[in-house]
Amino acid sequence: MSGVKKIRVDLALIAGMVQPGSRVLDVGCADGQLIEHLTRTKQCDARGIEIDMEEVQRAITHGLPVMQGDADTELVTYPDHAFDYVILSRTLQAVEKPREVLRQMLRISTHAIVSFPNFGHWSLRLQLLTRGRMPMTAGWNRMWYETPNIHPCTIKDFFALCDAEGYVVEDWLAADEQGLRTPWRRSPGLANLFGEQGLFLLRKA
């Protein structure tokens, strides 16, 4: 429990969007790596929700406040404006009702931080075009009939949804599979072609 551990690169990008000392809920927090990081290095009041019981046990065993639960059903149980940031890291594509989950996130929190694998990446487009089969890549590596990623979307799709729902994109960036920042942040079109992940900081208008 002592010392500051190095965290996954994509989580570090997310942590970079969080103001110190804020109230944070990490939805789909796994073993709580990001919560621990935010608590220790940014003095945040950070908690988590995780669906996998073993991950929840690991997190609690490390002294982190984590609830076993499902984003689709648990977010509704929080009051309005309970948090400054709600984080949904690489999970949006796997929830049953992504639009409703986003609404709940921005009901219970001032900001939402959302990352997802970009289905618009050129390698996926190329595979679909040339093979006519669902693409298989490092990020999209399960067959269509068993993938938990039931709601794939592209970076452009996500911009369109934010537009339709009236969310302000305060910050966004595209990243590669390891979570390293990639340089197309001025052009959503290029990001959508070359970015493997999209990362967005949203608030209500």
């Binding site: 109230r23 908690r47 406040p65 648990e74 948090f83």
Partner: protein, 384 residues
């Protein structure tokens, strides 16, 4: 004030509060004695105290042999040096509940009200109706007597978990961390129904004598044993019973001989008969009723979250997957209510096929979770 109590035959460590305690039922219970045990050392600023609350038939001997019954501590694997509730780090208190029969004031204590027809005789069934909140009020007196103004944690399973919730609701400022295990925020109709079978069995025993069996020199052992047998079935899962006994016969010679017993029958009979040696029937009636009356949502007009509004306490809720007496849905509902008031809450369902009793048994995942939670809380509380 500390003195061996005169109420039971055995000199349990206890403290008596002569001013008594005002009960939920409106009566004042005079001269309340609390039997308790402590383990570990209270630190200088009295910030490392953990109160452990026992379940329906438990007692204050959580981590040592009960000197009266000879039974080992009921949570020996959880409380002790190096254990998840580490007595090398924490000062652990455990008290026999109000209404109990291990030294605390209960139906066997002398009737203390001025209106008593036979002052000094045991209360018997005249003992006032007590609630889980009443039990906790008495525990609070004990904690204050020990000059502790804030408990680092309150921890308990089953009825002990109800007491933890009562602590968190009644005295939130005195509880840094709360761990209700295999608990519920109200006693369900099914739970009440099982208790009622037990109470009826006791009342139907010819030796019950309307609750005044002591003066007759007898005990309603058959009735109490049946009550225990019924309750015991609710503490275990079907899977655990099947694994342990299946359809095995006591003597494996087939069903030819009439009167042959299934192994599960003789097991239950053993559970019943050993129970009556250590537990009092009137206490059983009193405590089961206290559990039945528990409903912290009902007290808030049906909104459980209102009970926890503004709480600063850190919660860990634990349920067990095969517990059908206090099922996971109950713990999850408490966790959700706590979320609703933005409380700091962890919740986990431990996979176990041992039923409700799992909280008393060797469940490594549960023990690791409890230990980790306490370590995390200790860090936040500045205890190290």
């Amino acid at each position: 004030m500390d003195q061996p109590t005169a109420y039971t035959d055995f000199p349990h460590q206890s403290v008596t509060f002569p001013e008594g305690v005002a009960l939920d039922c409106g009566r004042v219970l005079p001269n309340v004695t609390v039997a308790y045990r402590t383990y570990g050392t209270l630190n200088q600023d009295k910030s490392n105290a953990i109160l452990v609350c026992h379940a329906l038939t438990g007692d204050q001997y959580v981590a040592e042999q009960n000197p009266e019954t000879g039974r080992p501590g009921w949570w020996g694997g959880v409380v002790g040096p190096g254990a998840p509730i580490d007595t090398d780090k924490y000062f652990v208190i455990c008290a026999n509940v109000l209404g109990g029969c291990m030294g605390s004031t209960g139906p066997r204590s002398p009737h203390g009200e001025p209106s008593a027809q036979a002052p000094g005789q045991p209360w018997g069934t005249d003992f006032p109706v007590v609630t889980i909140h009443d039990m906790v009020r008495v525990q609070k007196r004990l904690v204050e007597h020990l000059r502790i103004s804030k408990l680092f944690a309150v921890i308990g399973g089953s009825m002990g978990g109800m007491q933890v919730l009562s602590w968190a609701v009644q005295y939130p400022e005195m509880v840094f961390a709360a761990v209700p295990i295999a608990a519920a925020y109200y006693h369900s109709a099914q739970n009440i129904a099982f208790h009622e079978i037990g109470r009826q069995a006791i009342a139907a025993d010819p030796f019950f004598h309307g609750g005044h069996y002591w003066s007759e020199g007898v005990r309603p052992e058959r009735g109490l044993a049946v009550a225990r047998m019924t309750a015991h079935i609710t503490y275990v899962s079907e899977e655990a019973l099947t694994r342990k006994f299946g359809r095995k016969l006591q003597n494996a010679e087939g069903l030819s001989a009439l009167g042959e017993q299934f192994a599960v029958e003789s097991y239950l009979q053993y559970q019943g008969s050993s129970f009556v040696q250590r537990f009092d029937a009137n206490s059983y009636l009193t405590i089961t009723r206290a559990m039945d009356l528990f409903d912290i949502a009902g007290e808030q007009g049906g909104v459980l979250a209102d009970a926890f509004r503004g709480t600063q306490t850190r919660f860990l809720l634990v349920s067990f997957s095969s517990d059908w007496l206090f099922p996971t849905a109950q713990s999850r509902a408490i966790a959700r209510a706590l979320n609703h008031v933005a409380a700091n809450v962890s919740f986990v369902e431990v996979q176990s096929d041992k039923g409700h009793d799992a909280f008393l048994l060797d469940e490594p995942d549960f023990h690791a979770t409890l230990r980790g939670f306490l370590v995390g809380c200790a860090e936040h509380a500045g205890l190290s």
